[in-house]
Symmetry: C2
Subunit: 162 residues, 2 copies
């Protein structure tokens, strides 16, 4: 079990791309989604798959349990996903000692670009790159869970504008 | 992924005990419970733990995905179980080529004894021991899921009488 602490922002422009050092393609969906917990399946670069359970109500931290599972199981589980299966390309972008993950969404959320940074403690204070837009930490509408299961943008007021 | 096909009965009396060949202690709870799917954590004899996802609406068969997880994770997950954590002793009772699992419940469901037999195909026809009572196959009230999450006997008309 690991604690997850992160900050999340919308992204402005393309300046981050020149600093990206690697990328991978993620395909993921939710097998269960409840207010205080979720069960997610993720396939990484079509080669490995993980099952992740997150439990807790904290905005910055949640309990997280993660297990590797066979890709064939993951494919079958995603056929039973709740809501949409999300596909996105994740870029790793180092910036002043922290690594940002920039997610460029495809499919139902094309146009949405989100940057996240993971911190060791809640008091860590990562320097903010200039290409960050509005902070959406703790905004449930921009969580993976909401993007998968509550994908009607108009109803939830989801905006791609950074 | 495995298909699960089983028949389930209440149990009458104690005659089955003399035929029991082994037993184990199960502690289990649900991390997620929805109409057509569930995520269960089970600790076996306090030594091994498994995460099991069942998906599907079929009465006799459901898709089942099962993974071994660390016991320490399982203990933490059970602290976040929905409903009650169920404790029961499971006896293996062979009878004419089939092995019955007889579950003797403790705690909230003390007094309840359920026998299950797993079949290879839906057309298998296991001989029925005389100590079986009423068949409850497909009766959601006697599912592990319902026993954990809908444990108010009176409201759901759950009876322990075989």
């Amino acid at each position: 079990m690991a604690k997850e602490i992160e900050r999340k922002f919308l992204v402005r422009g393309e300046a981050w791309r020149s600093a990206a050092e690697s990328k991978s393609v993620l395909k993921q969906g939710y097998i269960a989604s409840m207010e205080d917990r979720s069960v997610r399946v993720r396939i990484l670069d079509e080669k490995t798959a993980r099952l992740t359970m997150k439990i807790g109500r904290g905005t910055l931290t949640r309990d997280e349990f993660e297990y590797e599972i066979p890709v064939s199981d993951a494919e079958e589980l995603l056929e039973n996903a709740i809501g949409v299966v999300i596909e996105k390309t994740r870029y790793r972008v180092p910036y002043e000692g922290f690594v940002w993950e920039v997610d460029v969404f495809a499919g139902a959320h094309r146009g949405l670009v989100i940057a996240e940074v993971e911190m060791q403690t809640e008091t860590d204070n990562p320097p903010l790159p200039t290409w960050l837009g509005r902070e959406v930490t703790g905004d449930f509408r921009y969580s993976n869970q909401a993007l998968a299961t509550e994908f009607e943008h108009d109803r939830h007021g989801l905006s791609h504008t950074a």
